[in-house]
Assembly symmetry: C2
Homo-oligomer: 354 residues x 2
């Protein structure tokens, strides 16, 4: 078992931070001074290295580029008003990461590497956590297969890394969403509940079609009947119907068990708003809209946080929502922000100090 | 549009070929002296480079490692008894490659790069085509996204490469196949017809479970009813029932349109064996086995060529096949070999001279 003491740290001689304006910085484009890297070989993880962010020398036969054993997580670190950095619910992402690893026939990453390594890396680069409202430091743990062999089989070698990217608001404007009926993201027995690279690549063509039609994202339907609401491209989705929050349930294993989704469910319940996790048919969405009981729709995700949806289109039927009146969306977003930026008591111990 | 003249060639100073024994060489482990590499940027393909096989310098934020825009093909080159090299049906793989590219929201690769580039590379490394029976030079064209940015969106930059690997027989022994009921490879609306990395990563966990039970591969069922035969891990599949060859049809878009599959269909028809491309229910497979009309099962693929299946297990029901008596499997394998190794007239012009 690795311990924190095993981390080998090599620092940059000069930080790049002063060259960058962190205000409204685009998502995922700039990276901090350091990265974490550790290799798995002969059934064991090697020495964890934290070193200057740099290119990797990878063989053209790198297994991940051919056979897609590649998973990741998205986590955020925030600074409170005292300038102290903390990570939002990293243990939930740690658990999901290893769930993804199992589904993709990859080794689990021990907590000593994933969590303690992340903290060490953040200690070194904590000056990179922006202090502006709606800004944060996005943490990207990921793992990919590194055998240099193109036989189809699980790789024997893997690389686990963590990179850090300062970020501003992701979907800053209310979104227009296109309900996708033909293409699917996942089906039961597939990889929909795993955060694996292939799920995202598969989503890009249908999303591009929706973008051509003027929409920001698709809302996926289930793979069997193309009738049950699943998730948006990079977000789980909530519907406020009759004052209750309704969100698709997880039992089919076709959608991502979002950490923000789980957080929003907890917040709503604590604030006295009933939450229903259950299958949600698009026909119910439409009839609720027509009867006036469907009042708000929003997406949740680590990168997206809470994203208001102002339009939902199913076939030729357009549902519009007045984002000025989305009181429950704003309520949960405010509660979540207050916890993340340390403005309110963190009664769940969701924030993990760096 | 690129032309062959645009290829920039940089040769090795000394070939590695003399260091290697090509006889019974394992699949996909050793690569030839040179590789082809070309980058797509600002909506256009750059200069095609053929250069010594070497590592690539890739950023940790490489889009392909996070979001799985990655596709490939598998093609083989053979030497005839006069020592002349030829490629088996590369135009079919070229078409399928660009089909995969479209589904994964990647740019198409022009024929001048894919085909002419491949020929140039093979001219340089044709001494690597083994001359032993059942040996060949495996050609691996592949493309992956190269944006150095972790926002979820189609990459703006891509790299197309071709690498070459000498190979012996792939599945040399008759195989034991486990019919997978729970996990799926694909469903309608997904990426099952595209040769994309994620499809293979997704298959490894179910395949590992089958291997623990003593089987070599799984036979996938459809994603909707888990009843209709799809394909094996790396092969299409044929059943000889009542003297006819039955193979799953392609219209659902859930299985790979194999080039070897298509070739086998043509050969069977020319040799007077009826072929049915149609949905095939596992219950029909079982009842045909029980009545004695199902006599042979085999897999087809570029890497696998024609692979005899000696056992098929569905739930607790085991179907065994006497591979000594699989006359139609052997017949088509022999015809195919004779064409590939130039022992019979290539009436279809399947072999493309280097």
């Amino acid at each position: 078992m690795n311990t924190v003491a095993d981390i080998k740290i090599s620092r940059v001689t000069k930080s790049k931070l002063s060259e960058l304006n962190l205000h409204n910085i685009p998502f995922g484009k700039f990276f901090t001074d350091h990265m974490l890297e550790v290799d798995y070989e002969n059934g064991a993880w090697g020495t964890v290295q934290i070193k200057p962010y740099q290119d990797l020398a990878l063989a053209p036969s790198l297994a991940a580029l051919h056979y897609g054993q590649a998973i990741f997580e998205g986590i955020k670190a925030y600074k409170n008003e005292e300038g102290e950095g903390a990570i939002f619910r990293p243990f939930e992402n740690f658990k999901r990461f290893n769930f993804s690893a199992t589904r993709m026939q990859m080794p689990e990453v021990p907590e000593e590497i994933f969590i303690d390594g992340m903290k060490e890396l953040l200690k070194l680069d904590q000056a990179w956590i922006p202090t502006f409202a709606q800004h944060s430091l996005y943490i990207r743990p990921f793992m990919f297969s590194t055998d240099e062999m193109i036989g189809v089989r699980p790789s024997e070698k893997y690389k686990f890394m963590i990179i850090l990217s300062p970020t501003g608001p992701y979907y800053s404007k209310p979104m227009r969403i296109y309900v996708e009926e033909k293409y699917i993201r996942a089906a039961p027995g597939g990889t929909g509940a795993a955060k694996t690279a292939g799920n995202y690549g598969a989503s890009m063509y249908p999303t591009a079609i929706a973008k051509e039609k003027g929409y920001d994202q698709v809302l996926w339907m289930d793979g069997l009947e193309h009738k049950y609401v699943q998730e948006c491209g990079t977000m789980n989705v909530f519907f406020i119907i009759d004052g209750k929050a309704v969100t698709p349930s997880l039992e089919a294993g076709t959608i991502l068990a979002g950490v923000t989704r789980d957080t929003v469910i907890d917040i709503f319940r604590e604030e006295g708003i009933e939450v229903e996790e259950r299958p949600l048919n698009i026909d119910e969405v439409i009839s609720s809209y027509k009867s006036g009981t469907l009042t708000e729709v929003f997406g949740t995700g680590t990168a997206a946080t809470i994203s208001m949806i102002k339009e939902l289109r199913y076939k030729d039927f357009v549902m519009e929502f007045d984002v000025e009146k989305t009181s429950k969306t704003k309520q949960v977003a405010t509660t979540l922000d207050n916890i993340r930026y340390g403005k309110t008591a963190d009664t769940h111990n969701w924030m993990v100090k760096i």
